[in-house]
C-alpha cells in the first residue's frame, strides 16, 4: 500500500488493514457489531472491516427512519466477484429496514468512454447486471436503478462540484491524474449524493459499500457534502469497507483487467471451476511441509473463496481455515471442494438470473418512470 494514498483505479494490495485506520481515518466495524441482530457473513467473518459514519445508518434502522444504500456498476459485460461483494452488502443493508431504498447506478457513459460499448450494448448488459443483483437477493420494491447517460441530476451535480474542488484537493486525494478520471470521480460523488436531493425526500443517511481501495471516492464525496451542505443540506455519506480478495493468480487484488485473477457470474460453471482448480494457493512446497507447518490461509485466494462467498456458513469457513493452518487440509482436496461449491453456486445463480430477467427489465422501466416523475 502506498503510504500516501489508495488507488481506486489500480491494483492496490492492502497488507495491513489497520493502517487504513491510522492513515485515512477509516474506523473499525468491530465496536458496532453488537448493534446487528443478524450480522451478514461479511460482518461475522470480518470481511467488512471498516466504516465511516455507519452509526448514522444504524440509528436510522433503529428509529425506523429513511436511509439509502448506494452502489453501481460499469456495464462492461462482466459481473465479477467484486461486484458480488458490493451487491451482497447492498442486499443485506436493504434488508435491515423497510425504510431503506437502494440506488443503483449503471455507469454506461463510462463503459462507452472506456470500453467503446454503445448504449445499445450497455443497455442489454445492464439488464443482465440487474438480474444478477436480483438473483443475489435485492428487493426490487425498494430499489431505483438509473443509467448515467439519462440521469441529468448526477451530471448537473458533478458540474457544480467541479467548481468547488481545486486541482490541489483532487491531487491530494487521487494523485496526479488525467482529467477524465477526475471527472469520473466527480460524477461518482454526484451518484453518492443524489439520494439526498429534495427530489428523493431530502437529506438522509446514505451507505456506500465499497472495497477498501475505493476510499478516495468516499472522502471526495464527504468533502463535497460538507462544502455544499448549506445549499443542499447534505449529511456526510456513510461507507462500509470490505477487504479485497486475493487474485486466483496469486498476490494483488482480483481485477477485471486480469480475467484469470477471478471469475465472473457469467462464466460457465466448468470454466470457473477450472480457474479454481488451477489457482495459486497458500500451500507449502510439499505435502510433508504442509502437514508440518500448515497452509497459509491468510494469503490464499482459495480460502478467500470460502470465506468471502461460498462457505455454506461461518462454521464451515472457520473449519476450512483451521484445517488448513493445522496442516490437515491439503490444497488439492481443498480446491476440489471449492470448485464444486463454485460450480453449484453458478448453476443455481444462472437459473435464478434466467428466471428474473423480466423482473430486471421491469425494474429498469419502473425506475425510469419514477425518476422522470420526480424533479424540478
Amino acid at each position: 500500500m502506498d503510504k500516501d494514498r489508495l488507488d481506486p483505479w489500480g491494483s492496490s494490495t492492502i497488507k495491513d488493514y489497520s493502517r487504513l485506520q491510522s492513515e485515512f481515518g477509516i474506523e473499525p466495524v468491530a465496536p458496532l457489531l453488537q448493534r446487528f441482530k443478524t450480522p451478514s457473513h461479511h460482518l461475522s467473518r470480518g470481511i467488512d472491516f471498516g466504516q465511516r459514519d455507519l452509526v448514522r445508518v444504524l440509528d436510522a434502522v433503529d428509529k425506523n427512519k429513511p436511509y439509502a444504500v448506494m452502489s453501481g456498476i460499469k456495464p462492461d459485460g462482466s459481473f465479477h466477484l467484486g461486484n458480488k461483494m458490493t451487491a451482497d452488502d447492498m442486499v443485506y443493508f436493504q434488508s435491515l429496514s423497510k425504510k431503506a431504498t437502494v440506488f443503483y447506478a449503471i455507469a454506461d457513459v463510462e463503459a462507452y468512454a472506456d470500453n467503446g460499448l454503445s448504449f445499445n450494448d450497455t443497455s442489454k448488459i445492464a439488464t443482465k447486471n440487474v438480474a444478477d443483483i436480483l438473483a443475489l437477493g435485492l428487493d426490487p420494491e425498494r430499489a431505483v436503478v438509473y443509467k448515467q447517460s439519462e440521469e441529468m441530476r448526477v451530471m448537473r451535480m458533478s458540474t457544480i462540484f467541479s467548481r468547488s474542488v481545486t486541482n490541489n484537493m483532487l491531487k491530494a486525494i487521487y494523485g496526479e491524474r488525467q482529467i477524465g478520471l477526475y471527472l469520473s470521480a466527480l460524477i461518482q460523488a454526484g451518484d453518492i449524493l443524489m439520494p439526498q436531493l429534495a427530489d428523493f425526500g431530502g437529506p438522509k443517511p446514505v451507505l456506500v459499500p465499497v472495497g477498501a481501495d475505493q476510499d478516495p471516492h468516499i472522502r471526495l464525496a464527504r468533502d463535497l457534502a460538507a462544502k455544499h451542505s448549506d445549499e443542499f443540506g447534505f449529511e456526510p455519506p456513510s461507507a462500509i469497507y470490505h477487504r479485497l480478495e486475493f487474485a486466483l493468480t496469486g498476490g494483488y487484488k482480483m481485477s477485471k483487467r486480469v480475467p484469470e485473477s477471478g471469475f465472473t457470474l457469467d462464466d460457465t460453471p466448468s470454466e470457473a471451476s477450472k480457474r479454481v482448480l488451477s489457482a495459486f494457493t497458500g500451500g507449502r512446497a510439499t505435502v510433508e511441509e504442509q502437514r508440518r507447518l500448515g497452509g497459509r490461509a491468510d494469503v490464499c485466494p482459495v480460502y478467500d473463496l470460502y470465506r468471502f462467498h461460498f462457505a455454506i456458513d461461518d462454521e464451515h469457513s472457520q473449519r476450512v481455515y483451521r484445517e488448513c493452518v493445522e496442516g490437515t487440509r491439503m490444497c488439492g482436496e481443498c480446491k476440489q471442494e471449492a470448485a464444486s461449491l463454485v460450480r453449484r453456486f453458478l448453476q443455481d445463480h444462472h437459473k435464478r438470473r434466467e428466471a428474473l430477467i423480466d423482473d430486471a427489465r421491469e425494474l429498469l422501466t419502473s425506475s425510469r418512470r419514477f425518476l422522470a416523475s420526480t424533479g424540478r
Copy 2:
C-alpha cells in the same frame, strides 16, 4: 496579448489581430468577402476579421445544404454588447439560407455554479435572453434553444471527451486551470458538436460566431471533432471571429465583470447614455490638439459603439471615423450623438423585446418538445 495563448476567461487585449493568423492559424475573412451577396455590417466594417473553415458554411449556403449556427449565453442576468455581437452574427448567418438552423445553449448550470443562481432564476432570465435575440432578428422557426441542465447529450459528450483529452492538451490550449474551467470547456465542446449528432441529422457544417479571445474553445472543439470523427463522423466546426470592443472605461475589452466597461440591453436608455457620455475616448488633451492632430478613433470605445452597433449604415460609420481622425469632430458632440443613438436603440429594443416575450416562451417550449422527441 499573451504570446502563447488567448484567455477566454480573462480580459484579453488584442492589439494586433494579424498575429492571430500567424500564431493560431485563424484565417482572414477578407478573401471570402466576395462570396457574400449582402454582407452584414460585421463583415463590411471589418468587425468579423477572421475565420476557420468558413468556406464549409458558404458552400452549404450555395448548395442549399443544411448547416447549423451555434452559440449560447450564460443566463446571469445581463445581455451585454458582446452577447449582442454574437447574436448579430447568428441572426445574419441564419438569414443566409432556409437550410440554416440555430442552436442556442443556455448555460444555466454554469450560472448556478458561478453565480449561485437557482434554476428558477435562470429560467426567467433565459426567457428574457431569448426575447433579446428574437428582438435582434432571430427567426424562431429555425432555432433550437436548450438548457445545459436538461440536455443530456451535451453532458454525455463532455464525459466522453474528458477521456480522450490529456491534461497536457488542455494545458497547451488554456494554460494551467482549475478542473471546473476545463470541464466547462469540454461542455462547450459538447455544445459545439451536438448539432452534428445523428439525432439532428448527422454531420454538417456548424458555424460558431465568437470573440477573438474565445478561439481556444474553437481549437478544442476542432481537436475533439478530429479525435472522434470515426465514431461520430464529425466535420471540423467552423468559426467566425469578431474583434473585441474597447471598454467604455478605456483599454481592455468590455467585460461582464466590470459593468461600467459597457452596458447591457437591460439597462435603461438613460443609464446607458450616461455611461456613453462619461466614457473614455481616443480624443486629445485639448480641442486645439484634436483639431491639429485628429482623434484616435482606432482606440476609441465611443467610435466602437458606432462601428460595432449603432451607426445607421456603413457610410455613417465611415463618416464618424473620417471626421474624428481629420480633427473636425470633437469628443463632446460625438458622445452626444452616440448617446442619443444608444438611447433610441434601447427604447426600440425594449419595446420589441416586450412584444416578443411570449414568443420567447413559446420557442423555449417548442424547443424542449422537439429535443425530447429526438434521440434514443
